[in-house]
Symmetry: C2
Amino acid sequence: MPAAIDFFFDFSSPYAYIANEWIDALAARHGRPVRRHAILLGVAFQAAELKSPVSHPVKREYTLLDFERSARFERVPYRQPSPFPIATQNAARVFWWLHDTQGPDAAAAWSRAGMRAYFTRGVPLNEPVALKALVAETALDAEAAQDAWGDPVWKQRLKQANDDALALGVFGAPFFIIDGEPFWGNDRKPQLERRLADGRI
Amino acid sequence: MPAAIDFFFDFSSPYAYIANEWIDALAARHGRPVRRHAILLGVAFQAAELKSPVSHPVKREYTLLDFERSARFERVPYRQPSPFPIATQNAARVFWWLHDTQGPDAAAAWSRAGMRAYFTRGVPLNEPVALKALVAETALDAEAAQDAWGDPVWKQRLKQANDDALALGVFGAPFFIIDGEPFWGNDRKPQLERRLADGRI
């Protein structure tokens, strides 16, 4: 079986949301599975002494324009949510809980449901009530999900995922690793495509 | 005549060098002229409280890999120069001197000669002796160029170009403005192409 494409994302990253919408089709074109990793970008930023582009005053206006334009470019629906960015540890813990108890496909489906809800309807994934309602809406066990995001086991699982990502050099999202080669950004899609088609760029 | 594409670059920016190699062909495909602006990225970074990606320890290794890979992706020759980045005010003043005394085409040719020399042969544009030799090599008047980069008139011309760029919201390079719409980065090439072809993305 060909090696998986590792795909790192934060539920609050617009560029990761856009990439999450095309990564499966791109991988399938080249016969590769996708291995998703929910992480917390704030932790990665802190480790790298980086900031969100929207927290730079001069970049903020441009970045908001670019989120929306980059989504349109990929034909992905987008409505800038507010507040933005938000804390996504609960959504990420639900991801890992699903991943380990129901499998990667269930976790992938949740990643799509969660980011689509936030980036097209502004569902505040950081608010437990809204998050629980969204879980129920996606036909998952909302009580069990709530128990999971408060459970030290899944807190630790997410922490481990973050540590693993940092150890691999992940400093942003979306971040891709293909056969050991790192790619950062939704805008690296054409390079990923050629890398997968030709084996190199 | 259709409106020009404004193209902002620093002689020490790898991504601007790569874009400088494709921007004329892209613009020509859509019947647009290119208007180049040599600026100093350090000044823009300072105003925006930004840093070069290579000055972030966690990003440095990835960024160096990405420079080379992004050049390869566009079939542009590239050899990582050292020292990097370098001060480019003299090369930029020569650009504006040529621009105002011989015209935009002479300045564009110098932008290509200067960046190709730095990014394929490591010619240190920050060193007056090497810069003067490069000017002579490109069949320009090296004595006059040296006089120009020490002349308050061309120092002021570059400062004005920087101030104008900052006023337009430029915070990185390459930076493009098409009919008032800003695009940042060599990796925005597919969006520029669609914007020019369809009038919107």
